[in-house]
Amino acid sequence: MAAGLATWLPFARAAAVGWLPLAQQPLPPAPGVKASRGDEVLVVNVSGRRFETWKNTLDRYPDTLLGSSEKEFFYDADSGEYFFDRDPDMFRHVLNFYRTGRLHCPRQECIQAFDEELAFYGLVPELVGDCCLEEYRDRKKENAERLAEDEEAEQTGDGPALPAGSSLRQRLWRAFENPHTSTAALVFYYVTGFFIAVSVIANVVETIPCRGSARRSSREQPCGERFPQAFFCMDTACVLIFTGEYLLRLFAAPSRCRFLRSVMSLIDVVAILPYYIGLLVPKNDDVSGAFVTLRVFRVFRIFKFSRHSQGLRILGYTLKSCASELGFLLFSLTMAIIIFATVMFYAEKGTNKTNFTSIPAAFWYTIVTMTTLGYGDMVPSTIAGKIFGSICSLSGVLVIALPVPVIVSNFSRIYHQNQRADKRRAQQKVRLARIRLAKSGTTNAFLQYKQNGGLEDSGSGEEQALCVRNRSAFEQQHHHLLHCLEKTTCHEFTDELTFSEALGAVSLGGRTSRSTSVSSQPTGPGSLLSSCCPRRAKRRAIRLANSTASVSRGSMQELDMLAGLHRSPAPQSRSSLNAKPHDSLDRNCDSRDFVAAIISIPTPPANTPDESQLSSPGGGGRASSTLRNSSLGTPCLFPETVKISSL
């Protein structure tokens, strides 16, 4: 809404008096008007900084927070002001919007923070004024790109393991794209690089004249003709390797059409085709000339290095992005060449024995002069020719110098972007590790607390009190919450170590596994429901472990079935040893187990992202899995919820 609309509306309405005498129908009654006529000063307190403004100012934009009744939620009756616990520096810009109708973007603030403030106050980002709009958009785009890069790096990247059940094709493609994921891929990468180098060097060496010791002919032969078999063998080997690589990539590519159209595959094709064409073409003299030219294409193998070198890729990308500047350069150069060649030709026409035999012949002179090469094979002899020649060389410098800075700055920008991306990827791992640590920190604190016997219901007294006293109120409440969750789901939180042990134990199968898995759990003594938990925990262990070990869901369901149907009691559990035996509870759990087992079978196979989610480390992943199993556990839930949770 434009700035002044609210101010001018009364005026526009008043001006409607001009329609009155013309109206053929009676005009509608005026809308109800609010009683308060006067303008009052409102105080808005943002984190201690008090802003005062007229109420009318805020009412100008009724569809924002401050202009609507939403601000009443923030009204503090004691102090008679509206209190917002937000950034006061940003609020200044928001309030100025009401006053001036233009929303300005602060230059020194993070654009994301600004966006959040706007969202809070109900202002759409489109309200940013023209003066700041371009910068705002640029910064926002830059930020979005950076975040997208981060996400992409996470997804495509090297961090999490391959999802379970990926086909050979996917694994192969992944190995090709990220050579450092596995040693085999790395070996392949270096081998192909080596063969590219060998092939290129062979091409080069082929043409060097080597003095044949056997033959004492005066004519020197290039090495290629002296050792044709050796070179042919080397060429064959390289081409075989390249062909193999190309076919493998073609097989592994997720989208073959796209792969066929990509630049790298075209380079590959161009690199290997000449060999096959050479094989097919019979070796007679007519075609041998063409055959020889085909060999020229072998030099394109050097472009295969761009898979191995990032700098080369950056250069290619820069040239592509500077296409318009390059085009301009080419065009202006062509224009200048034609002009100067014409002039030089006519200037030198008079002299005999001149090199400037035609205008195209003069092109060569012009190019050599404009690029300041000056070979000297063609020089003007007339005075006019010399004058024009000097003008030609001066203008050449200018024309070439103009687009170059643009190309250079483009290259620099892209190069630095790439550097930044690499650095970020390297730091990403550290960052993720730290986040993981923080997440697991809370769980670990809880587990520690449990281990120290904090869950002891019957207060056995002072020893516990000592170790639990050091927790803050927040921690206490948080732990209580986690504890409630455990009780609700009849499952317990555990840490990675015990869990992977449980996994390893389970794969051995049988009762022994159960005992070891259970005994390694840090269950506190005296927890009543923990007797049913071991079995459930084991199933949870199986489920989670299976995903990390990338076993398919089908087998997991089988295991579930087995676990469910195994009705043998678990006397070996430490908890049950300590606790009083609760057969009733066992039985309850059994029935739930049974029902749950049957229900869990028809669930459709999980998608890979689901399992990769599970495999993500930290309390988050575990919590979700426990929640999943929790719905299996509680008897009052309907089967549908089970299915939903398993998905």
Binding site: G18, L20, P21, L22, A23
Partner: protein, 220 residues
């Protein structure tokens, strides 16, 4: 307005014809505009001249000053502001007529005094005052009587504000017919023009008009 002209010429200069120098011209323009500044008379005087209370005048001036920091509204601004209320149609002609009605001293700009004087008549004046004001609006050449041509212009401008998409669809003859009916009602002596007395008399006899006059009592 100069500002508009500048915007257009800025876009032209993108053709690199080199004939317009953005830097020097715009600086001069800026300089000239900012030196124009109009201050209204004091509050007391305005209070005497108009029927608004002190507080109302304060509120009005604050809004006015916010929109027009230079203190005056010129025709282009006025048209722009008014057009925002009628996005579907073209309100520029009517806005011109309105502008002329407010610009009582005909100097091409509406100052705060003009603004408030006009509003005072419309919102706080007697029925006769309002009718007088309306007559003044219709009388484009301010000669004391409304001819059919003047009325037709006014009518067309009002219908223009409706825009294209109306129900029922707007016909070409609609303004003319409306003018005819207006004259039939207002022109007592059928001499083809409506004088102020005829106008006021006829309006006072019309109940609809009288009733709708009360619409504007609470606008401010």
């Amino acid at each position: 307005m100069r500002g508009q002209g500048r915007k257009e010429s800025l876009s032209d200069s993108r053709d690199l014809d080199g004939s317009y120098d953005q830097l020097t011209d715009s600086v001069e323009d800026e300089f000239e505009l900012s030196t124009v500044c109009h201050r209204p008379e004091g509050l007391e005087q305005l209070q005497e001249q108009t029927k608004f209370t002190r507080k109302e005048l304060q509120v009005l001036y604050r809004g006015f000053k916010n929109e027009c920091p230079s203190g005056i509204v010129n025709e282009e601004n006025f048209k722009q502001i008014y057009s925002q209320f009628f996005p579907q149609g073209d309100s520029s002609t009517y806005a011109t007529f309105l502008f002329n009605a407010f610009d009582t001293n005909h100097d091409g700009s509406v100052s705060f005094e003009d603004f408030v004087a006009g509003l005072s008549v419309i919102l706080r004046g007697t029925v006769d005052d309002r009718l007088n004001w309306a007559f003044n609006l219709y009388d484009l050449n301010k000669d004391g009587c409304i001819t059919k041509e003047e009325m037709l212009d006014i009518m067309k401008s009002i219908y223009d504000m409706m825009g294209k998409y109306t129900y029922p669809a707007l016909r070409e003859e609609a303004p003319r017919e409306h003018v005819e009916s207006f004259f039939q009602k207002m022109d007592r002596n059928k001499d083809g023009v409506v004088t102020i007395e005829e106008f006021i008399e006829s309006c006072q006899k019309d109940e609809n008009i009288m009733r709708s006059m009360q619409l504007f009592d609470n606008v401010i």
